[in-house]
């Protein structure tokens, strides 16, 4: 059973559709979880570690407990169930009992009448530490001499993929380049810091309202800590003031749950200050990538050898998956027959790293794309030509050795790049810098990103559709709207399938009571999985509408036709021969019948796993090429990105407005990563504290961005759609670095490419302005 809509008849898919949640958001009337307050509400605060690595000798909460206005003070002794959390391996203590392993570690919780009292009470908790020497360098951390931060040692995971004969290929190659690349600890910097509120309900159940990226998994993690049946807990995780992966892991949900058990039924709220968010929140993994790439004279890539170290900080979170994705994508969307790819995810005392848009691919894209540019230069080849020559096509092999049977748009995105106005006129653009001491350059790069969870990992979606009074529909998909606008996507898919106006669709997301489990909002998966789930539910709704109409018409269901959003009797009937959805609802209501259906979708998988690597390969990928124009100030080393052409292949576009928004936001986030952003941690201690010393792109730095979608339809996707949330920020990183090289002749292999780094490199190579 499936919904068939002829492409020509699509009414909503591919149009520019305004966000469903627009009016509430532009007026400030949408209540985020951190906006709630109640007369009897109490405030929660978290006591953080004082050191990046230390043994806890003693915790004394007696003074804090006696402080007027304090309602409860909790430590590890108050954790009823399992004292740990973490998406894959729950190795992060909820409240530390023996060791603290990073500055973000939580040692105690306080609930008090006011936020100020809670803050003061934190100062009264006495913790004696034995300070230990922190482990801060991943390569040092894996040596036997390093202190072991976890019982299993400091290597959280190792990934290794080997194909062909690398040694032979390097020996026979015409050109070889080898470089080491360093990438920064980017901060998500969502504008709404972590927070929410929880309450122990009168019936003994718990309700936790906290922005998240997978309500059902958050519920499971809470339940494990409380040793409760998850059914007793309701998690509401939508709306969200920005996510980008930073709210994929547990943030404050478990703290809220623990405190709510001790506040006598009063609601408890936690809302991090920005400085606490900086220290406690996960970050992007900084990587060191050493990559050796070889080609033949004609530009054919023949070998790639990679060793990558990812610094996951004190706890695993999704670090293992990040390094796995990095290795899977480390050869780019190309076919390289001989590869030896090795990645390590390593524990240190440098905060905590986890999921972040791009998920390991950002770091390796810089390396492969730079190496390819250097090979092209040595061979005197055009950078687009060498890429076109080496990309894999649908039905071909990837560098992982797996046959990619799903849609592949790389070649077309590169072709669009070659034909875009900026690239065609690049010499003209470069010839006219704004000042004589500034130099301009143009760069191009391409990348890809898996959609969904990959081989061997559970990956499913589900949606409900309920017929409402007046013939409206309520579509439920648990996957949250973290800003990308997937709620509007689900509405578009439903409106198309049910032949109704988009205004007649309401969407509910992120609520374990009112929606069914549809998996995470991560891995660029929610359009693909959620959209397919809505399409799986729609035929059941159509069946309900038709069979009810048949009953009213008193004819066989085969004689009912759904056309233009109405139900028509194909034969003469008593009374009117057409019924609206409102009529159907009314009939079902009067007969006390169910008006809700559900549909489920299992994400298809690749045929074969790559080695023993969990999650490898993916079945569907999104592809993306960026072209950028930069201007570098040779007196200061400052780089300005002037123009960006973003060419995504997300399959069929569902909402053009939404796609452009992702492409533009991704480009600017990628620009920030390349030029400004880094969370500085020295010897385990955060030097970055807030937005005053974490530099984010503002309106002034934002370039002019043009988006050219390449719609390489994927037959397994909803109306041919794939996913796009992550890849839109990836190749721009390498494209900017290449453009800086084009402008100045210096290659920056250590990001961010700050004015200091660029200036120093220029000075070393004698690139200075001579007026």
């Amino acid at each position: 059973m499936s919904v068939q809509v002829e492409p020509k008849k699509l009414k909503w898919v591919g149009q520019r559709v305004r966000r469903k949640d627009g009016p509430e958001k532009v007026t400030g009337s949408l209540k985020y979880m951190t906006d709630y307050q109640f007369e009897n509400m109490v405030w929660g605060r978290v006591l953080r570690s004082r050191y990046p690595y230390a043994r806890i000798k003693r915790i004394d909460t007696s003074k804090a407990k006696a402080y007027p206005g304090v309602i409860c003070v909790l430590t590890h002794e108050d954790v009823p169930g399992f004292n740990g959390f973490g998406i894959v391996i729950p190795d992060q203590p909820v409240l530390c009992h023996d060791y603290v392993r990073c500055m973000g570690d939580a040692v105690a919780l306080v609930a008090a009448e006011t936020e100020e009292i809670a803050e003061e009470a934190l100062q009264l908790i006495e913790v004696d530490y034995e300070v230990l020497e922190p482990v801060t360098d991943p390569e040092e951390a894996i040596k036997d001499s390093a202190p072991k931060l976890h019982p299993s040692g400091n290597i959280h995971s190792r990934v290794h993929v080997k194909n062909g004969d690398v040694k032979k290929a390097f020996a026979e190659a015409d050109v070889i380049v080898e470089n080491t690349y360093y990438s920064p600890r980017q901060m998500h910097a969502f504008i709404e810091t972590e927070g929410g509120w929880g309450i122990l309900e009168e019936d003994g159940s718990l309700t936790i309202r906290c922005p998240g990226q997978y309500a059902f998994r958050d519920r499971l993690q809470i339940a494990r800590v409380l040793a409760w049946n998850p059914e007793r807990i309701r998690v509401i995780s939508n709306p969200i003031g920005g996510g980008f992966g930073g709210k994929d892991e547990i943030t404050v949900q478990i703290y809220l749950a623990l405190l709510a058990l001790h506040t006598g039924g009063r609601p408890v709220k936690i809302h991090y200050k920005r400085e606490e968010s900086v220290i406690a929140g996960i970050k992007r993994h900084p990587f060191k990538v050493t990559m050796k790439t070889a080609a033949k004279k004609d530009g054919t890539l023949v070998a790639n050898k990679v060793v990558a170290f990812g610094d996951t900080g004190a706890y695993a979170s999704l670090g293992g998956a990040v390094i796995s994705l990095a290795i899977e994508h480390s050869c780019g969307p190309y076919y390289i027959p001989n590869v030896d790819l090795e990645g390590y995810c390593v524990y240190t005392n440098n905060g905590i790293a986890g999921a972040f848009r791009g998920f390991g691919v950002n770091q390796v894209c810089l390396a492969i794309e730079q190496n390819i540019d250097m090979i092209a230069e040595k061979l005197g080849m055009d950078p687009i030509e060498i890429r076109k020559k080496n990309v894999y096509h649908q039905g071909g092999l990837s560098s992982m050795g797996h046959r990619v049977t799903t849609s592949v748009g790389t070649w077309k995105t590169l072709d669009a790049a070659e034909n875009c106005e900026l690239w065609k006129n690049r010499e003209k653009y470069k010839a006219n810098p704004s000042e004589p001491w500034k130099k301009r350059g143009i760069g191009v790069a391409t990348s890809f990103h898996g959609i969904g969870m990959g081989f061997g990992l559970p990956d499913y979606g589900a949606a409900t559709i309920e017929l409402l009074p007046g013939g409206r529909f309520l579509v439920g998909v648990c996957s949250e709207d973290i800003g990308q606008g997937n709620g509007t996507v689900f509405a578009i898919v439903a409106a198309e399938a049910l032949q109704c106006h988009i205004d007649d669709i309401d969407v509910i997301q992120g609520d374990t009571r009112r929606t069914i489990d549809s998996g995470t909002v991560s891995a660029s998966r929610s359009t693909y999985v959620g959209g397919n789930s809505v399409l799986a539910a729609a035929p059941f709704m159509i069946k309900l509408l038709k069979s009810t109409a048949a009953e009213i018409f008193k004819i066989d269901v085969d004689l009912v036709e759904l056309r233009d959003g109405k139900l028509w009797a194909k034969v003469p009937v008593e009374g009117k021969n057409v019924l609206t959805y409102a009529d159907i609802y009314q009939y079902l209501y009067e007969h006390r019948r169910e008006t809700k259906v559900e549909g489920h979708f299992m994400v298809p998988k690749a045929e074969k796993q790559i080695g023993n690597n969990v999650g490898m390969p993916h079945h569907v990928y999104g592809y993306q090429t960026h072209v950028v124009l930069v201007e570098v100030d040779t007196l200061t080393g400052e780089t300005e990105v002037l123009r960006v052409v973003s060419i995504p292949d997300c399959g069929k576009v569902i909402n053009l407005q939404g796609l452009e928004g992702q492409a533009e936001g991704g480009a600017v986030m990628g620009m920030g990563y390349t030029l400004y952003e880094d969370t500085i941690i020295e010897r385990g201690i955060f030097k970055t504290t807030n937005f005053t010393n974490y530099i984010l792109p503002t309106f002034k730095e934002t370039p002019i961005i043009e988006t050219i979608p390449i719609e390489e339809a994927e037959k397994t996707g909803p109306f041919g759609a794939k996913g796009i949330g992550e890849v839109v920020m990836i190749p721009i990183i390498a494209a900017i670095v290449q453009a800086i090289y084009d402008a100045t002749g210096v290659r920056i292999n250590h990001l961010p490419a700050t004015p200091e780094r660029v200036y120093k490199a220029m000075k070393e190579q004698g690139v200075i302005y001579r007026g």
Binding site: V26, S29, Y32, G483, Q484, N690, F699
Partner: protein, 168 residues
């Protein structure tokens, strides 16, 4: 320096309604609006005047409510996002942000709408450069700002068109 806990009576007009309240002299205006008056459309993102999410108008001028004390609003007129328009009756700026995808997660949006409101009152016919300069004190992590510049341009053009047709 005033002692913590010292309270002072203030009289402030917010979105046209006059409020008389006794406040702690150290209470931030952002906290006063959100917690005392329940006007939670004013968001706080960094507590130190960088992100601009908490931008409001005092006597028509855009200011950061996280860097302003509640007592500084005594005797003055405050406009928050709730005073600009409502979902049922969007202000043209809000309508333009919706039409032109000037928002995604929406958390920074009230601050942008207020900044744009103050800016367009002073400069109803701005260039792209002027819009970029004027709104560079507001951070948005989702949109890459393109939808926002489109929104502000669209509303400026619309207001110009209306002004021209009104003078005819």
């Amino acid at each position: 320096m005033a002692e913590a806990g010292v309270r002072k009576k203030i009289s402030v007009t917010v979105n046209g309604v006059k409020y008389e309240r006794e406040v702690n002299v150290r209470t931030l205006l952002s906290d006063f609006l959100r917690r005392e008056l329940g006007l939670t459309g004013t968001h706080v993102g960094c507590e130190q005047g960088v992100c601009g999410a908490c931008t409001i108008l005092i006597d028509g001028q855009a200011i950061r409510s996280c860097l302003t004390l509640a007592v500084q609003a005594d005797g003055r007129s405050v406009t928050t996002i709730e005073g600009i328009g409502s979902p049922e009756q969007l202000h043209p700026i809000q309508q333009a942000f919706w039409e032109n995808h000037g928002l995604q997660c929406g958390f920074c949006t009230p601050g942008f709408v207020i900044s744009a409101y103050a800016f367009l009152s002073e400069n109803p016919n701005p260039t792209d450069e002027e819009i970029r300069e004027a709104l560079s004190g507001n951070l948005c992590r989702c949109t890459g700002y393109q939808g926002i510049i489109k929104s502000v341009k669209a509303v400026a053009e619309k207001m110009q068109a209306t002004a021209v047709s009104n003078t005819k």
